[in-house]
Amino acid sequence: MIEKSNASRAVGYGSLLAFVLFVVYILYINLEVFYTAHDRSEFIYGSAFFQRLMSKPFGLMQYVGSWLTQLYCKPVIGSGVMVLIWTLIFFAGTKAFRLRGSASALMILPIACLLTSIVDLGYWIYIYPIRGYWFSQSAAYLLMLLLMWMARSTPRRWHLLWYLIAFSTYPVLGWYALLFILCLSLSERPSWGELLGMVILLFTASTWRALLYSHLNSDDVVMAGFPVFDTALDASTHQSIPFWTLAALSILLSLFGRYLAKWFVPALCAVSGIIFTLSLMYRDRNYIDEMRMVRHALDDNWAEVLQIASDHPRPTNTMMFLKNIALMNDGSLLDRSFKMGNDYVSLNNPDSLHVTLLDTASPLVYYNYGMTNEAIRLSFENAIQAGFSPFYLKMLARCAQAKGDDKLVERYTTILNHLPLYEDWQPAPVSAQVKELQKSFTDELTGVENSDSYLVNDISLWYSTDSKLASEQALFYAMLRCDSRRFWATLRNYVRLHMDEEFPLHAQEAYIMFMDKSPEEKRIMLPVEQSVYDRYTQFWATIEKLARPSMKLETLSEELREEWGDTYWFYNIFGRKINISPMIMQEHGN
């Protein structure tokens, strides 16, 4: 009997330990995601932000959640706080659902749901509109369990009072108040009290809308705080699964929890929790590395950006742009860019969200090309919908600094300095490159553009700039655009400004190719290295040798990639071309 008990305990502790290790591992591999979570989550000190959230039910939890999310600035600290909340949930849950012995391991399952909810977001992290998402659900669930623990510690005749308390906490706890009423009423044998609880449950949201939230759409009051992933362009039910599961589990635990004190339950719960999380968690190398690159680029740590880029044969277009900015800052753009590759892959995005460079890093990219007005506009466009998070505030502060708007710099810096871990934050000085590029083009009036195509189209038009750096960028983007007319125009300007300097490798490659395939009538004669020219000849010879009738271009490209993938010629013929679709004029004044 004793042996059986020890074995049961061993299974219990073993399962718990396995699950704890799993949680730690999942948190560890998502540390970059958590950093980005804080960087893209809005928290503004002061009464305006507080009141805005408080004007909706569940607002207080969102406010608390928003503040706590900022702790992810140091992902280990944020994760530590999250683990603490989950630990409290575990203990409060065992009391609230009266789980004894092996049955207490059932609380692993709600925690697995909450863990899943913060690692399944994928690219929603850039566009989700829910303030305080990362902590508010865990914090509210903890409060609900504490409330339930207290309620179940009182005599049953007091339950009616607890139903009324839950009703009155709806503005704070939102849908967790409803879950509380449901769980409490189901945890006991039905009586008149429980029936009344159900009636309260049915009318809670509508009553509160009439009492306090008549300025809100009814949909925003019913099930307040339940995460709904819905924007003007995107919607997903996938991300709500952990919360529906959490609610279902809480109800089941109320009904049957106490009967599940079996020795195998801990193991079953640990395995179920792990499978549940792994099956819904979003994992993609580009997703994480893109976040790392954005973080380092924001710190002007271009060496690290290049390091990540060099480890990455198949980047996203955001990564490609950041790599080229890093090379620009490094001074080796026209010598290394095509060696490192300018092909990019689409985002691995199972939800088919409309997430692009625009959402992930566009203000950062535009800022580094000296296009500060665009960077400001894009920061606003995104922040208005996704929130004035540290990322956008930092970008706005840097742009204001580049524009010389000192008062604005002061405003954004003050706001950032009031965030928990940003006390001493100051915008980095404007780099010489940004200063030079900012002055290198003339003003024009544009409409709403596609971010990546606009960059390529616009920069490749800097034909007549007097800036050496800008002429290099113009030449590079004309090459990336595979546009002979712009190539010749930008090359002339580049040569004018870079007299007596070495002719960079990729520029030589492009020059040889365009001289061969699309020469101008009035040719510009430049010296090229014999080895480069010989290689070009070999390139075409190899193509002729490998190409077979009806062979697909992709097959040929794969066969050539290893030997020729580091050349401009390969990019020009086989590379994925940047979107250069024309701009869209904005129709509405605002």
């Binding site: 002061g46 305006a48 296009m371 665009e374 506009r377 208005i384 003050t414 004044g589």
Partner: protein
């Protein structure tokens, strides 16, 4: 033991409650270093003239340079009060109104001490005493309410926006309408703006709702309805409205508005009309009369004279022949507006001939947003070098001109304007002694509401609309858009307004 614990808890709670309700009346520093300059307070209330019914002018010293602030306020009756907590000076409303009452028609003296923040060299900051300043309290009150749209200084995207009303005697701000309650199509979104009142009263008012569930929400003698002013002969539904001061007619412009973005210019955004005309909406018959529809010129921003006998508006001057028909993106800097008026015959709803009121174009300028003073003697308008959307033009200022011989001979409202920042959307209080404008002078980006006292053709130094927490303007990332005076609050609730969308 348990009983004692309860008593202790209760005492603690009472003490906390007491402390939270207390105002901090700090002592004036016993020793301080005199500084011969005015304190760098935010908002800048040094030597301003304020109405006798304004909310407390709370202010603060910059928190990066100072650790504490004490202000001593002296009234003409010899009373002195000190305030200050941290770097902020927040005066309770009851105290403030006592101060105003004692100082009406006179001045309040404000002395400010600031304790410098600790530096590496100095472990403890030192107290500085700044030159005192005065706040002049005018006898003329300001209209008790204003309304405005709150929106981020946006480009294309917008999210949540609201039209709010503010009680100027207190800090109370309530919502008139928001763009979420009736939005039924998230992909379209919903935009709200252009609220307008008849003669400063709210029984007759309107605001527009665009895109999802769009229309004009009209309040006619307190009854709410939604109307559609678009006709097949107008280029759009009504946009910029102006209620006739007495009749149930509304003049509106109809606009095909576009915006473009500067790639380098500090103005950043350009809003321009591809076409605009003017209409008159007759509420009784739900009919739309075309006032002007010149296809080559742009008419916009109608406003009525206080007696309702004239309709003032802006109209563009013809473009030079060589620019005619060219893309607006290359000609927008040549589009300039003058101010005109036409007489109005209310019984027949007909208009007289057009008269030029102000020729801005001949000075290579563009005048917009005319507003006539309630006594009919003065005309306020915004002026920049070109275009019609001056709130985005750094060179935009507000100008005032005499409309008749009864106006003061020397008009000077330079103290209302800022140097190098957009000042626009001027309006008069109902007694004609307060000018309100929207200005980006604080940081070039966020519009804030400013007031200036006007008497005998002179405007006094403008001051920012006071907030309970002076830091509010730093952390509030929205602009105040289209501020309008009202003599009474809008009493219809958001929910009641929303019902006209479901009826």
């Amino acid at each position: 033991m348990k009983k004692h614990l309860h008593i202790l808890t209760l005492l603690l709670a009472v003490a906390l409650l007491f402390m939270s309700s207390c105002t901090n009346h700090p002592d004036v520093p016993s020793s301080s270093k005199a500084v011969k300059s005015l304190p760098d307070i935010f908002p800048d209330y040094c030597d301003v003239t304020v109405p006798c019914n304004i909310a407390p002018l709370n202010f603060m010293l910059p928190s990066d340079r100072y650790a504490a602030c004490v202000a001593r306020i002296s009234t003409p009756d010899g009373q002195q009060r000190t305030y200050g907590q941290g770097v902020k000076v927040q005066i309770p409303e009851s105290d403030w109104h006592t101060i105003l009452h004692a100082s009406t028609g006179k001045s309040i003296k404000v002395e400010v001490w600031g304790k410098t923040a600790k530096s590496e060299s100095e472990q403890n900051g030192e107290w500085l005493s700044f030159s005192p300043f005065e706040i002049h309290v005018a006898e003329e009150p300001i209209d008790e309410y204003i309304s405005y749209r709150l929106i981020e200084p946006s480009y294309v995207a917008w999210d949540y926006m609201e039209i709010a009303q503010r009680h100027l005697t207190t800090f109370e701000e309530t919502q008139i309408f928001n763009n979420e309650i009736t939005c039924v199509d998230k992909t379209k979104g919903q935009c709200i703006n252009c609220h307008s009142y008849q003669n400063y009263k709210t029984d007759n008012m309107l605001f527009h709702v665009r895109l999802s569930n769009g229309g004009t929400v009209l309040v006619n003698d307190g009854k709410v309805s939604k109307v559609n002013m678009k006709r097949d002969y107008t280029i759009s539904s009504g946009v910029y409205p102006a209620w006739h001061p007495t009749a149930k007619v509304i003049a509106l412009s109809t606009n095909k508005t576009r915006q473009g973005f500067h790639t380098a210019d500090p103005n950043k955004i350009e809003v321009y009309d591809m076409a605009s005309d003017m209409i008159l909406y007759d509420i009784a018959t739900d009919s739309v009369i075309v006032v002007s529809a010149d296809t080559t010129l742009l008419e916009v921003y109608p406003t009525w004279s206080p007696d309702g006998r004239y309709l003032y508006y802006c109209k563009s001057v013809p473009l030079p022949e060589e620019l005619a028909g060219k893309d607006i993106r290359s000609t927008y800097q040549k589009v300039q507006y003058n101010l005109y008026r036409r007489s109005f015959d209310e019984p027949t709803l007909s208009f007289g001939e057009e008269e030029l009121v102000y020729d801005a174009a001949s000075q290579d300028k563009s005048a917009t947003l005319p507003r006539i003073s309630p006594d009919g003697h003065y005309l306020l308008f915004a002026q920049g070098r070109y275009g019609c959307f001056h709130i985005r033009h750094l060179d935009a200022d507000i100008l005032c001109m005499a409309l008749d011989d009864e106006a003061a001979p020397d008009i000077d409202i330079s103290k209302l304007n800022s140097e190098g920042f957009p000042d626009s959307y001027p309006s008069w209080s109902s007694n004609g002694h307060w000018i309100m404008c929207a200005s980006r002078r604080d940081d070039s980006n966020y519009c804030r509401v400013y007031f200036s006292y006007f008497k005998d053709g002179k405007a006094e130094k403008a001051f920012m609309m006071p907030q309970e927490d002076p830091e509010h303007h730093t952390f509030f990332l929205k602009s105040y858009n289209r501020p309008e005076f009202m003599v009474e609050p809008v009493r219809i609730s958001v929910d009641e307004f929303s019902k006209v969308f479901t009826d």
